[in-house]
Structures are given as structure tokens and as C-alpha cells.
Symmetry: C2
Subunit: 169 residues, 2 copies
Amino acid sequence: MLNVRKNCEDILPLFRYDVNGQDPELIWHLTEITGFFNISEVAVAKELVLERLNKGAESGYDFVIAEHYGKLTGYSCYGKIPCTQSSYDLYWIAVHPDFQGKGLGRQVLNESERLIRESGGTRIYVETSQRLQYSGTRAFYEHCGYRLESVLEDFYAPGDAKATYCKAL
Amino acid sequence: MLNVRKNCEDILPLFRYDVNGQDPELIWHLTEITGFFNISEVAVAKELVLERLNKGAESGYDFVIAEHYGKLTGYSCYGKIPCTQSSYDLYWIAVHPDFQGKGLGRQVLNESERLIRESGGTRIYVETSQRLQYSGTRAFYEHCGYRLESVLEDFYAPGDAKATYCKAL
């Protein structure tokens, strides 16, 4: 048997868009296990799921949740930016370490973009740190057609700038 | 008697920092009467007051409310930006038309900056439109020591860019 690298076509994730009572904990664990987010970021990720659970669509937070045989493998959280005509923020995107490097992040992103486009969105913004640790994240966005639009020096902390990427749909 | 222009020293506003049950309506009216904000922006301004009323300090929204003989004359809404070490957003600042041009906006801003500094804040960000209508707003921030850090084209709508200003404390 050929030892082929599993790619996105092999995984065939199932997407769902409604959040349920288990998701706050599951997404807390998912974002925590990636190692990319600190404790306050993980807490915010969970909080946005709770906001969606409590307020529904009015929360302004929409989700794409990827599952593989019932296991949460990745997700995105996005929403229309208040007071804009058709701009959206991609607040969170994360993929379980076991499923990284297989195209799942791109699939989750593509699905989010499809839904944003269907909702009339014309621009998607995503923010990330300029720290070395996030160079892979930045390369991912650039590879997916996002363009660096601005850098705010010392935004997250001294020496830790915020990079804002944008994709026009 | 000399016909002197009333300035900030003459007004001597009283500041309060707690919001009460009347404030959502009062701040709705204040932001609406300025003519600077559209209906969805006015709704967001009110919503942030409600968030503060419902969740207290945990909401992440702090307020400086200026009064003159019991009348709401201006206010600001600011808060620490989640997942940053010491960066703050100035979400809203507005002054009643009867009190504009008298230095009250600057007093409200100074008071907000003082409280942010006392809380350990090191940077304040404020966002506004690049449209001509807001040239006075931008001049105000620049006059108060804020520096233009980034411009995101077509952010609010096609042809309507977002300008982000920053002041390092």
C-alpha cells in the first residue's frame, strides 16, 4: 500500500454552522491545544461561542465547525463588522494539531469565505501578530489571497505588532 | 462686560464614571443629535451602554460622562483591547452641539487618557472615517497628540476608508 500523505480531499470534513452546548468547552480545548494562543486568547475564543449560544445571530458571531467522525477538527468564527456596509472580520480560525498540514485550514477558510460572499460581504479582514511564531499563520493567509494592509507597532505588547490582512471578494 | 468666548475653563464639567438606567437613552440622543453618526452607529453607541449596565466592568467598556447642571453634555466610551498587554480603544467620544467648540471634547479626552494611564494603559487607538465629513474629527485627534498609524481603504464602504490613530502615553 502506498504511503501517501493525506490531503484535504482525503479528509472530507463535515461542516456545521450551529453551535451547541458542548462547543464552548470543545473550542476552548481546540484553541488551547494548538499552542498558538495564550490563556486570555483562549478565553476570548470560548466567550464568543457563549455569546453566539446566548444571543444567536444577533451576537454578530458566525461559525464554521469542521468535524471528522464526530470529532471537532477545526473551526472559524467570523462576523460582519458593525457600522460597515459589507466588511467582515475573521475573528478566529484554528485546526487541531492532528489535522494540520492537510489542507483543512484552507477548507475552513474557503467555506467561511463562501458564506460571507453569499451574505453580501465584499471584504474580509484578519488580524494576527507580527511575531516570528506566527510567520506560518501569515504565510497561510498570504497563500490564501490575503494582502497585508497595515501594521500597528507595539499593539499587542512592546515589540509585538498587529498585522491586518484583507481579501477583497 | 467683555464678550469673551466661553472656553473649557468656563464650563467646568462634572465627570461621572458610572452609567445609570437613563444613560442608554441619553447617549442615544446625544450621539444622534451630533449628526456625525448614522443610525446603526447610534444603535451601537447605545448598545455599549447597555452592555456596561448588564455586565459591569467585565463588559470591557468604561465611560467618562460630562454633565453641566445635570445635563449630559458629552461622553467617551473606552476600554482595554482584549488580548493586548496595555492597549486601549477609544470607542466613542461625542459632545452635544451646544457645547462644541468650547474645549469640552478635549476635556473628556484628557480625562479618559488620565484614567487609561492610571489603569496601566500605554497606547490608545481611535478609529474614524477618512471621509470629508470627519476632517474636523481627524484634526481634533491630531491636535490632541494622536498620530495616523494606518488607513484601510474601502473599510466602511467603497470609497470610505478607516483611519486608525494612536497616542502612546
